[in-house]
Amino acid sequence: MTATSDISRPIGLSRTRQLLTHPTVRSFTTFVALGVVAAIVTGPQGRTGDPTYSISKALQPGHLFLWIGIALAFWLVLVAWLAVRGQVRAVVAGPRQQVRTVWGISYVRWVFYIVLIVLAVLIPREFFGEYWQEVTVTSIGIYALLAIGLNVVVGFAGLLDLGYIAFYAIGAYATAYFTGTLPVQPPFTINPFFALPIAVVACMIAGFILGAPTLRLRGDYLAIVTLGFGELITILAINLDSITNGSRGAFGIPAFTIHLGPIHYEWGLDILPYYYLLLIFIVLIYWLFHRLENSRVGRAWTAVREDEVAAQACGIPPVKYKLLAFAIGASTSGFAGVLYASKNSFINPSIFTVNRSILVLVLVIFGGMGSLAGSIVGAIVVQGFFALVLKNNWFDPADIYMYVGAVLIGMMIFRPQGIIPSKRRAREIGLAERGLGSADALAAPAGSPTS
């Protein structure tokens, strides 16, 4: 800034400064910078002995300008959107209100749900090849179930659980144990169907044991403890060789079978029957949790999440409700673990790493914290994207988390409430932006007990 004083100019802002701080200019610079960063990270691998190889290759004009071009295309979309946002909202407001009114009619909702379920039944059967059917079951279906469960913990009760996959492991290993595929033999072997209730109870107990001492802690501490618990379970699975068969894992976990009077059915190598089984469970659990959300219990969770002191003043015991959410989430995770173990027929500790816990959390945040429908949509979008990348070999799969991270950051900036926001969470974020409270699952409840 030059010191030449011009009295007519507003104090403290030179013309260059004014220009540089103009929002459009700022976002332009940001996007150019993003393009450069993207060019570098998508560049070739480095070479030993030539430290500048990677960066100089990445910054070659063709590659660099391609990425800056892509970034600027996004910038143009953003600028255009900001320019027409007002008009678009005004135009959309009327129809939107109509949709809301129609949505308020109960049978419309039912018809919508039934159509969705019919589509969910038909699409994988009619249009998907084997690869996509497999993806629908093991990547999307199982993870949708996991995300729904984690949503109870993170979205409803506002507890950050970074060791969520540990319960998935407990469910899977419980199945392996009770079907006799671990080095230690159970007193009796059972059909994986019966492992479902066992895993649910085992995970509830595990969740209770982990939660009872730690849920008295405030947000960040809980996250660290659960992170540790997740690691602990993985390391135990690797090192308890004589019990878990170490890093080789368990093989030949039997498939689900039904023997009900005259009905005999076995889930074999076909993928679709697993899909239908999973679909039934997802719909059922979704429905139960949806009811839970709109009940005394769900409201108590919201109360504890928003203001623990005020919740206590309303007679809500916070630790009890946190523990309840934690146990419900844990048992859903265990449930998914049983389904996975039996479907895949083989498990090993590398499936249950902390990365997976984070992945499930990403699905929840992506879809919308506190929104059950969001969890499913998040699983479909993110996991579907992963599968697409792997199938078409767009880039090195090892880089995938980098791109997901970038998308997540963008999401947090432009749509923190997720793809399908929960009504309550969206309001909390709206209020937090106006400085009227905290929308952060991590934050200690507004104010300390000192009122």
Binding site: L288, S295, R296, V309, A313, R427
Partner: protein, 276 residues
């Protein structure tokens, strides 16, 4: 008034409690008794320990010495020291907060309903399966919530976000939420703070109606002397963590110790003036 209450049951008996934070003594041997159906005010300058007293009563703070007993609806006297805040609420003591603490992202209706649900028993299984008890409790809860919103005059705004209500309405909503827990004793922490004169008149009436129509005993912390003098039966004055005066409003107002606590001793004022 004290004569009227002589025969009434003692509802709260605070006996000689002392609360310290490190070297600071917030309450120093405070004793007070409140009778059933009485409206008692606790007044005193800022930092006198009024809110600390509330927090001791509701289990948020645990006093180092002394005891507090509360006679619940079952006629049994329960010790309150070391009881968890939510259990205090379930026992029949509800409170509001000096700085309003509503659930901001919920509607007025939902806020009150959370209070109403304090004594319900529906658990997760009942909620998931819509068991008969859950349906009955939902129905009763909705009804009671609307009654309470009516009572504080907010029924028309039931579906508005609590954070978007005007200040005075938020105060009344917080009172409705507290009443939802069916208390025997209601603790109001500066309910008139920040309200305008019209809202103050409404509040005065509301406190009377809570006392008369619902039969709820009210313990009030308030700075607004007009409200204190018009609505309360008896006043306790705190200063520096001690009870310095107690009695009917008119007497307390004339008590030299009270005047001194609020305005400073004449000698002090003179020396200040001399120094200045």
């Amino acid at each position: 008034m004290t004569a009227d209450n002589a025969g009434a049951r003692v509802l709260v008996d605070v006996d000689n409690i002392t609360l310290r934070f490190g070297g600071v003594t917030s309450l120093d041997g405070v004793s007070l008794r409140q009778h059933e159906h009485e409206i008692l005010s606790v007044i005193g300058p800022n930092g006198a320990g009024k809110t600390s007293l509330f927090n001791c009563l509701t289990g948020v703070y645990v006093p180092q010495e002394g005891s507090i007993t509360f006679t619940a609806a079952d006629g049994v006297a329960h010790p309150l020291v070391e009881m968890k805040p939510h259990n205090v609420t379930l026992l029949g003591i509800a409170r509001t907060f000096q700085n309003i603490r509503l659930f901001n992202a919920l509607t007025a209706f939902e806020n009150v309903k959370i209070g109403v649900e304090a004594h319900q028993r529906t658990g997760p299984v009942g909620a998931m399966l819509h068991l008969p008890r859950m349906r009955r409790e939902e129905r009763d809860g909705d009804e009671r919530t609307f009654e309470l919103l009516d009572f504080v005059g907010l029924r028309a705004r039931a579906n508005e976000l609590s954070a978007s209500l005007p200040y005075g309405a938020q105060r009344r909503l917080e009172i409705a939420r507290a009443l939802g827990t069916s208390p025997k004793l209601l603790l109001l922490d500066e309910p008139a703070a920040g309200t305008n004169p019209a809202e103050k008149r409404d509040l005065e009436q509301l406190i009377r109606r809570i006392n008369d129509e619902m039969g709820v005993t009210v313990l009030l912390i308030e700075h607004d002397m007009r409200l204190v003098m018009s609505v309360t039966h008896r006043v306790v004055v705190l200063n520096f963590g001690r009870v310095i005066a107690e009695g009917v409003p008119a007497d307390v107002q004339r008590n030299p110790a009270v005047v001194e606590a609020y305005l400073g001793a004449p000698g002090e004022g003179d020396s200040d003036a001399a120094a200045g």
